[in-house]
């Protein structure tokens, strides 16, 4: 069990960290997106993102949470450069993004592995497409990414030969292998069973503490959102916008034991109430 003292010092460290170097991270400014659907009689339009502003500091782990349809995945896709938007701007390192970029990598909701490639070659996929490294360098980088997610010994397996949890670790390793400044994770543990999910959360946490890679993690699991995040960002639908941001005061190097504490569960409850309220008000 972490004592209250270490929690507090960790929180101070976090708060000092978040005030430095604003240009080092991601800035989303007044983002707006409208889906237009051409119906048979009339065109309907839906504001999926409205006035969304969010900044994420270097090294920060932010979870995006909200009910389905609140635009959290759309926001993530906009940041990834996979979806275009109508208004506002997204800046990485102070520069507006135009489509996908080598500074960002996505961990997809479904593992999206290429079934004809071995795990090793799946992890290498992003590096291969960038064409910046020799195959020897790629091999080395892939090996360390595979080790990082604990899949050494499975390098030459095909995706169908490993479990769903392992496939998601390959998905993560593929993103980490390109060493992005920002990792974008889209409900990567949503389809896994509870036990696999917890174990992957712990592994991701350990990894995040060690790598200090800036991460945005989309989820609809409040427990997960609090457990993983430095900051939880709540989104509400119709129109999709950010309704609240909560700094999680537990510092890093968390363990499962944290989830048993009153502070943790109070925070989970508080967020759940906020989400329920927002749902009711729509």
């Amino acid at each position: 069990m972490a004592t209250v003292n270490t929690l507090n010092t960790a929180n101070e460290r976090l708060s000092t960290m978040s005030t430095t170097a604003p240009a080092a991270g991601l800035e989303v400014v007044d983002l707006g997106k409208t889906y237009k659907r051409r119906g048979q009689k009339a065109s309907t339009s839906q504001r999926v993102l409205d006035n969304v502003s969010l900044s994420v500091e270097a090294g920060e782990f932010v979870t995006l949470i909200g009910h389905s349809g609140c635009g959290k995945t759309t926001l993530l896709n906009c940041v990834a450069g996979l979806t275009d938007f109508n208004d506002g701007q997204i800046r990485m390192h102070g520069k507006p993004i135009q489509g996908p970029g080598p500074d960002r990598a996505v961990v997809f909701q479904h593992a999206s592995l290429l079934p004809w490639r071995t795990i090793e070659r799946n992890v290498a996929y992003g590096l291969e497409l960038r064409r910046q490294m020799s195959s020897a360098e790629i091999k080395q980088r892939v090996a360390s990414a595979i080790e990082l997610v604990g899949l050494s010994g499975y390098a030459s397996h095909y995706p169908h030969e490993v479990s769903g949890g392992m496939q998601q670790r390959v998905n993560l390793a593929r993103a980490l292998a390109v060493e992005p400044d920002l990792v974008l994770m889209d409900e990567p543990f949503g389809a896994l069973d509870a036990m696999t999910k917890e174990s992957l959360q712990d592994q991701l946490m350990a990894l995040a503490d060690r790598e200090k890679r800036t991460t945005i993690f989309v989820t609809h699991d409040i427990h997960e959102a609090v457990y993983l995040a430095d900051r939880v960002v709540l989104m509400t639908p119709k129109p999709g916008k950010i309704s609240k941001q909560v700094v999680v005061p537990f510092g890093r190097n968390r363990t499962r034991a944290l989830t048993e504490t009153r502070e943790f569960n109070d925070l989970v409850r508080e967020l759940r109430e906020l989400l329920t309220e927002s749902e009711a008000s729509v």
Binding site: A80, G81, L82, P100, G101, P102, R104, A105, V106, F108, H110, S112, L114, P115, W116, R117, Y125, G126, E128, L129, R130, Y158, P159, H160, V178
Partner: protein, 272 residues
């Protein structure tokens, strides 16, 4: 539950509950061989005892003797060589042209929109209906034979290749996009490898159809090769000789299917 009620003695006890044990591979092979041998023995006995007229049915022994003669006098090797050339040329063209057309149709949607109705129309046309016209266009001979083989075998190659290439997983496209892939990258790393099972299935169909094409082409144009051997032998009631030719085709089909099956398993080992 079903097992306990069986003991209740109300007449159900005498019932034979269904049981379907699996049989081992070797047992299967043995039984299969037994079936073939049993059929050959029956055939031979029926022919020898005059139960059937061996002028029409021939017999296994007569066929074996005919085969020895046909091989010894060089008739069969020459016929096989001649058929092999027609087969290789026809199937080769189907393979190369079919793969290229299939790839283009699968990858370029606009080309597909233009060409697809034409391909479907041609595919729907019974090739045999075109035989007289092919004679008009290409004469009687080797080129007509090859044209027939191509027309019969090319469509499965085209259609399966096109289907395989165009059936790209949207999630894989997004994955590729996120790593800044070009169109060519997507073709090379996603569409083509993903199409392999479908392409191989198309080639397999094309292969079998090519053999049929060879037989038809040889019957219709010049009675050459093994097809010609069957045709002329049958006309002169040399049923044994004709059946030797039929066996050659059967064996070839089995051999090619087996070989391609092996290749297919190798290429498909990533599929569950």
């Amino acid at each position: 539950m079903a097992i306990t009620t069986r003991a209740s003695g109300n007449g159900l006890a005498s019932r034979r509950i269904v049981s379907r044990p699996t049989i081992s591979r070797s047992t299967r092979t043995l039984l299969g061989a037994g079936g073939v041998i049993g059929f050959l023995i029956l055939w031979q006995v029926a022919a020898s005892t005059g139960l059937v007229n061996d002028l029409f049915t021939s017999s296994p022994v007569a066929i074996a003797q005919a085969a020895v003669v046909l091989i010894a006098d060089g008739t069969l090797p020459a016929a096989i060589a001649s058929s092999a050339v027609v087969f290789a040329a026809g199937f080769g063209i189907s393979l190369v042209v079919g793969l290229i057309i299939g790839l283009i149709l699968g990858w370029y949607r606009r080309v597909n929109a233009v060409v697809d109705p034409l391909v479907s129309l041609l595919y729907a046309t019974p090739t045999l209906a075109l035989l007289p016209l092919i004679t008009v266009w290409f004469g009687i001979g080797f080129s007509s034979q090859v044209v027939v083989v191509v027309l019969i075998s090319i469509f499965p190659v085209i259609l399966n290749t096109a289907a395989g290439v165009s059936a790209v997983d949207r999630e894989h496209i997004r994955l590729a996009q996120s790593y800044l892939a070009t169109n060519t990258d997507v073709l090379r790393t996603i569409a083509l490898p993903g199409a392999v099972p479908s392409v191989v299935a198309g080639i397999r169909q094309g292969l079998t159809l090519s053999l049929i094409g060879v037989v038809v082409a040889e019957y219709f144009y010049g009675n050459t090769g093994v097809g010609g051997l069957i045709f002329t032998s049958a006309l002169s009631l040399d049923t044994a000789d004709a059946l030797v030719g039929v066996l050659v085709f059967a064996a070839t089909a089995l051999l090619l299917t087996f070989a391609l099956g092996t290749i297919q398993r190798k290429l498909d080992k990533w599929r569950q």
